[in-house]
Each structure stands twice: as structure tokens, then as C-alpha cells.
């Protein structure tokens, strides 16, 4: 379990996505081929850490391992560079989580492998006040 996530830890910790060297479009998660112009000239690029909520949901029964955080606030966030990311919203009062709310990235425990396994850290977002 942990190796699959270890190899993309920089993407999880620093939101490193993709940038198309030809047309400049940026994406997170990373891509093999530009969704805008089709170019395969893709380089790593750190994404901006702020954006806005495009849509959200409140999940009462999350995946195993996430029970302690139920209900889970999940949102599609459009980052300032246009890239869209699926993420959990934390530390935000219920009435602040709305379509259009401004958000900023933070780092949190994403998954924990029981009491003796490894902890996977990753991005979550907070509504900016």
C-alpha cells in the first residue's frame, strides 16, 4: 500500500501537477498528454495553493479508513490556474462550504494504515475567511 503512494508523495505534499510546454495549460492530477492541445511535451509544475469551490457534497459514509472524519466534505476545486482538483474540505464551518467559496491548500493525514502501518500525508483544503 505505501509504495504506491510514496512514489507520488511530491504530488501529495506540494501539489505538483503537469504543465503543457506547448500551450501552457496546467493540470492536477498529472497527465501524459495535454487535454487542451494534445501535446506530449508535459513537465512537472507546482500548482497554486488557492482556488474556488465548483461544487461539493457531504458524504455520510466515506470509504473505509475515513470513518472518523465523517461527514466528509468533498469538493471539486478550480485552482487559480484553471486546473480542477477533487479534495476534502476541512476546518470550515458548514455554512462557509458553498459553490464559489474561496479555498486554500493545507497538508493533513490522508490515510493511515492502522496502528502499526504507515501514514500517508496529502493535500486538503480550507475555506478562506
Amino acid at each position: 500500500m505505501s509504495i504506491q503512494y510514496w512514489r507520488i508523495r511530491d504530488r501529495y505534499y506540494r501539489l505538483i501537477g503537469s504543465r503543457c510546454s506547448d500551450c501552457g495549460d496546467e493540470f492536477f492530477p498529472p497527465v501524459y498528454r495535454c487535454k487542451g492541445c494534445g501535446s506530449e511535451h508535459i513537465e512537472d509544475k507546482e500548482m497554486p495553493k488557492t482556488g474556488k469551490i465548483m461544487t461539493y457534497t457531504v458524504l455520510h459514509e466515506p470509504l473505509p479508513g475515513f470513518e472518523a472524519q465523517a461527514p466528509l466534505y468533498l469538493a471539486v476545486v478550480r485552482l487559480d490556474n484553471g486546473a480542477r482538483i477533487l479534495t476534502q474540505i476541512v476546518d470550515s464551518p458548514e455554512d462557509s462550504v458553498k459553490t464559489g467559496s474561496k479555498v486554500r491548500a493545507t497538508i493533513r493525514r490522508a490515510m493511515v494504515d492502522g496502528d502499526s502501518g504507515q501514514i500517508i500525508y496529502g493535500y486538503k483544503f480550507i475555506v478562506s475567511s
Binding site: Y13, Q69, V90, D91, Y121
Partner: protein, 347 residues
């Protein structure tokens, strides 16, 4: 030893604090365990279920790096007694999150003074010319045994400092420091235990007061400074009363200590305690101000520093959220939510 002073002085180039969003009023703890009343502090800061010393250290470090504007770090040291892993350093995860690989990384433990220790070691590495800049972090998710008096104050939070060569942009110079230790077991945790144990009255005179008074007295003797030379004094704050008492004994006034005294609002963040106090002071200090920083770690020891604020502090205003704004941005939780967040419920 007397005094630690590097030939080339090291300076604070950037700093950042982290205080979690959640607050547990001590009236809640007292309600559950004593049927009423409250603790010595009003509230304590509680890390959420998905936070830990690693996540908070990275948040504080990012702010410090944002302010310091250095590209590479020669050392990343995290001082904490709540490492998520007993074996696997917190500091390498922090280094990875900052994109730093060619760096010396280590975790330090000395109860509540591990953060200031990290500052001393980084100061030495910089001052000797071995590195250009390093990151010193004091951060904890202190765990209080349910029903124990320390539960009122055991809290989460801390601060990070980028320390490097003194430059025109430097915020404050670390003029000198000293350290005083003895084998004194006032508070301890055996290797496989979940919660610490502690003595009661013994934690006062023979522990907290003796060690802080010793380190500060040595500092005064070696430097010739007196309390009135300092604009601010920041002491380790296990509760609201001890720092006020030790300040008075050493000759400091409430005016000097109030900016750095945060225990009433957030409790005792252990290795983060005096570092957050220092961050709060730096948020308002002016060029030329002198700051005394004196930590205390059980086991036991105290680090005392003399820090001089420089002109570079002016450019830092508005760069990062202030400690004050973090104090204000909070939501109250109850004892059951706190128990769930801090994983105190047996499943």
C-alpha cells in the same frame, strides 16, 4: 560552558506559527471529571483527527520559508515529544515537503525545550559556517491522560524558525544563548507508554523554577544584561501562573511578558510553547528591541537566549497570518469531539 555565542552571529530570517482551528474550553474537561469548575487556562488548542506533529510542522515551516526567502536549507531539525513514529523522522517528511534533500535532518526530544534546542543547534551550524541556513521547529500534539490535571493544558501547536547568516533582510539576531540541565524527573514517559506521568508540587521549584532561574541567571552574568534591558521576555508556559511567577522573580514586568503569554488561550503546546510565544512577540516587535527567550524541558533543562530585533522585521508585516489571527480563528468543541479527535476512545 557559560555562554554559547558563534563567531559569526546567526539570525532569524523567517518564522511561522501554527495553532489548530479547534478549542476545548477547560470548563468542558472539568464538567466531565470534576462536575464543574475549570482549569487554570481558559481553553486549549486541539489538533483535528487528521493533524499531527508532521502536518503542523510543515504548515509552520512553509510560512517561515515564505518569509525567509531562502532556496536551500542545510539542516531541518524538529523538536517534539509527539512524533507520529517512534522510528522514522518527522524532519525528513518536512524536508521532502519543502523540496530539500541535501540537508541534515533530525528529530530532537527534550520534552518542552526540544524546539529551542533545535534553534541552538541550527545557530551553531550556521555560526560555524557549516551551513548557510537551517530550519528549527518546535511542535507538539501534547496528550493529557484523561482525568489528569495536565489534561487542562496539554495542547497542540508550535512554531518554525529559519535561521541563517545575518543579512540586511534578517529579522532578529540570535546574539547568544546558554543551557542548564540536570537529571531531574519531574515529568516523564516510558518508551511504550501512551501517556506521561508527572509529580505534582515537585514540578515547580526543583524543576521549572530552578532550571529557568539558573539558565537566565547565567545569561545575565555572562552578558551583563539586566531585566530592564529587555523589551520582551518569553518563558515556557505550562500554565498561566508559572511564567508570571518566574518573570517576577527574575525582575520582569507583566508588560514585558504579556505579548508572549498565550497559555490562557491555547494551553501548553509543549515543545511549541515558548517558540509560539517568540513568534507572537516577533509579530509586533520593533527594530532594536531585545527579547529574552527561556524555555524549560522536563527531565530537565532550560535554554535561555538573547535575541535582538533588526530592521528587516519591517518587511515581514502582512506576509504571514499573525499568531493573533490564529488565536482568533477558532471553533469550540466539546469533550467527546476532543476525545474522538485525539483518539482517546477505545474501539
Amino acid at each position: 560552558m557559560h555562554l554559547m555565542q558563534s563567531k559569526e552571529r546567526a539570525a532569524i530570517l523567517g518564522y511561522g506559527a501554527y495553532i489548530p482551528f479547534y478549542r476545548l474550553p477547560t470548563t468542558e474537561i472539568a464538567r466531565v471529571w470534576k462536575g464543574g469548575g475549570s482549569g487554570p487556562n481558559l481553553e486549549k488548542a486541539v489538533a483535528a483527527a487528521d493533524e499531527d506533529t508532521v502536518t503542523m510542522a510543515i504548515e509552520a515551516a512553509r510560512q517561515a520559508m515564505n518569509m525567509a526567502r531562502v532556496d536551500s536549507l542545510g539542516a531541518v531539525f524538529v523538536g517534539t515529544e509527539s512524533k507520529p513514529y517512534a522510528v522514522k523522522p518527522t524532519s525528513t517528511i518536512v524536508a521532502q515537503a519543502l523540496g530539500q534533500h541535501n540537508t541534515l535532518a533530525a528529530d530532537l526530544e527534550f520534552a518542552c525545550k526540544a524546539g529551542t534546542e533545535a534553534m541552538q543547534v541550527i545557530t551553531g551550524l550556521v555560526g560555524s559556517g557549516m551551513i548557510n541556513a537551517g530550519l528549527a521547529i518546535g511542535m507538539d500534539t501534547a496528550q493529557g491522560r484523561p482525568g489528569d490535571d495536565l489534561e487542562y493544558t496539554a495542547a497542540s501547536g508550535g512554531a518554525a524558525f529559519v535561521i541563517g547568516k545575518r543579512s540586511k533582510d534578517a529579522i532578529a539576531v540570535i546574539d547568544c544563548s546558554t543551557s542548564y540541565v540536570s537529571d531531574t524527573g519531574d515529568f516523564w514517559r516510558r518508551a511504550h507508554e501512551r501517556y506521561p506521568r508527572h509529580l505534582s508540587r515537585f514540578t515547580g521549584e526543583p524543576a521549572y523554577f530552578h532550571h529557568i532561574e539558573s539558565s537566565v541567571t547565567i545569561l545575565f552574568k555572562e552578558t551583563g544584561h539586566k531585566p530592564s534591558d529587555f523589551r520582551y521576555a518569553v518563558f515556557h508556559q505550562p500554565n498561566p501562573r508559572f511564567p508570571v511567577e518566574v518573570a517576577t522573580r527574575l525582575g520582569f514586568t507583566m508588560e514585558q511578558i504579556k505579548t508572549g503569554l498565550l497559555n490562557p488561550m491555547i494551553g501548553n503546546t509543549y515543545a511549541g510553547s515558548s517558540p509560539i510565544g517568540l513568534a507572537a512577540v516577533l509579530d509586533e516587535a520593533k527594530p532594536g528591541d531585545k527579547i529574552l527567550l527561556a524555555s524549560f524541558g522536563s527531565g530537565a533543562g532550560s535554554d535561555a537566549f538573547c535575541i535582538d530585533v533588526l530592521g528587516g522585521i519591517a518587511r515581514t508585516r502582512g506576509m504571514n497570518p499573525t499568531v493573533k489571527s490564529m488565536l482568533e480563528r477558532n471553533t469550540k468543541i466539546d469533550y467527546s469531539t476532543y476525545s474522538k479527535f485525539r483518539d482517546k476512545l477505545e474501539k
